[in-house]
């Protein structure tokens, strides 16, 4: 698999060499159509990744919309504030035990 990938890249970089390589390696066993498929695949992959990279650069270069910042600042502000105030949250086990206690003691107490 790795070999094949490398081959694809080599092929894309220098088609002539590639042809030689192919000839040497596989003794003209590859058909033209198959070679074409590889070429197409390579080109496609490259263009897709290129476009993706380009898109990433473009997206990153665009300043973040205000909304996003707002969300980061404000949506978590309450939670952050609560965390700072150190309300002692109940752990799952604590909650389970508490509920179990309520259930167990239910009929006894009055």
């Amino acid at each position: 698999m790795l070999k094949r990938t490398i081959a694809v890249i080599r092929q894309w970089l220098s088609p002539d060499q590639d042809a030689q390589y192919q000839q040497v390696a596989h003794k003209e066993t590859l058909r033209a159509s198959r070679r074409g498929f590889f070429r197409k695949a390579a080109l496609g992959a490259a263009s897709v990744s290129g476009a993706a990279g380009m898109a990433k650069v473009v997206v990153d270069s665009v300043p973040h919309p205000d909304q996003k910042q707002l969300y980061a600042n404000d949506a978590r502000a309450g939670e952050q504030e609560l965390a700072e105030r150190e309300y002692v949250l109940m752990s799952d086990q604590e909650k389970r035990e508490m509920v179990q206690r309520f259930i167990d003691s239910y009929p006894d107490q009055s």
Binding site: Q67, K68, D74
Partner: protein
């Protein structure tokens, strides 16, 4: 044909004014009190006497918020079916229809008839945002819609042709009375916790199997600006009820204001 095109909206507008004025006069004549349930101006209830000395609701004298329902199911309709099996399928679930609130005076019906009939205003070809010539007053920030971080626009939720309806992703009509079907499409997690009774509000009977009035999304949230700007609380600001009376011996509550500053 051309004349008809112009005539129709004009006539409808006349109808509209007539309808709205009559209702306005009607309200003043009755001299009844109007209170709001959760969103001011969009969840209004008329106060009326149901028995001698007993009213259907009690209202706050300071803010006009409803403080008490004699019958929590007054004016409700069955909630209708939901795509997913949930608790309420074993209980009687009702909602208060949203249409009378959103469509007070039947404005939306007139919209559909008068302008958005495909002729006067042609059917839009796609859902993309485009400059609005009208209705900036209805949704002031329509061009930078607060909802959906600018990824959605009017026609993602509103029916292109039938203005009295909403749409889902497939273009199916959704009633204004069931906004949860629309909202749940994107806000799945919230929708699920709403269905479980954790998010949102229900009134009526708490017990299992008891009848409940479910509050739908738009009864609390403004769908055009859910986050409510910088406060981001999800709710529009309301007038608070007055503070408790200061305890005897206290003139003001200055001592509790301005913590942190004088430390």
């Amino acid at each position: 044909m051309i004349s008809y095109r112009i005539l129709a909206p004009v006539m409808s507008l006349c109808m509209l004014t007539a309808a709205s004025t009559t209702t306005v006069f009607g309200e003043t004549d009755e001299e009844s009190k109007e209170c709001f349930e959760s969103r001011k101006d969009l969840t209004q209830v008329q106060q009326r006497e149901i028995e001698p000395g007993v009213t259907n609701i009690k209202c706050s004298p300071t803010t006009g918020g409803v403080l008490f329902w004699s019958d929590p199911f007054d004016g409700t309709i069955p909630m209708g079916d939901m795509p997913v099996e949930a608790d309420y399928s074993h209980e009687e679930a009702v909602v208060k229809p949203r249409e009378p609130q959103i469509d007070r005076n039947k404005l939306l019906t007139i919209c559909s008839m008068a302008c958005h009939n495909g002729e006067y205003v042609p059917w839009p070809e796609n859902k993309l945002a485009r400059p609005l010539t009208m209705h900036q007053d209805i949704v002031p920030d329509a061009m930078q819609l607060k909802h959906g971080k600018q990824a959605i626009w009017c026609l993602d939720c509103h029916h292109a042709a039938t203005r009295t309806k909403l749409i889902d992703n497939y273009g199916n009509e959704i009633s204004f009375n069931q906004p949860q079907i629309l909202c749940g499409k994107c806000h799945g997690q919230v929708y699920r916790s709403w269905r479980d009774g954790i998010h949102g509000k229900r009134i009526g009977m708490w017990n299992k199997g008891g009848k409940k009035r479910w509050w739908v999304c738009t009864e609390c949230h403004n769908p055009h600006d859910v986050q409510q700007g910088e406060r981001n609380s999800g709710f529009a600001q309301l007038d608070p009820e007055p503070a408790p009376i200061l305890p005897k011996g206290m003139i003001n509550a200055n001592h509790e204001r301005g913590h942190g500053e004088d430390h």
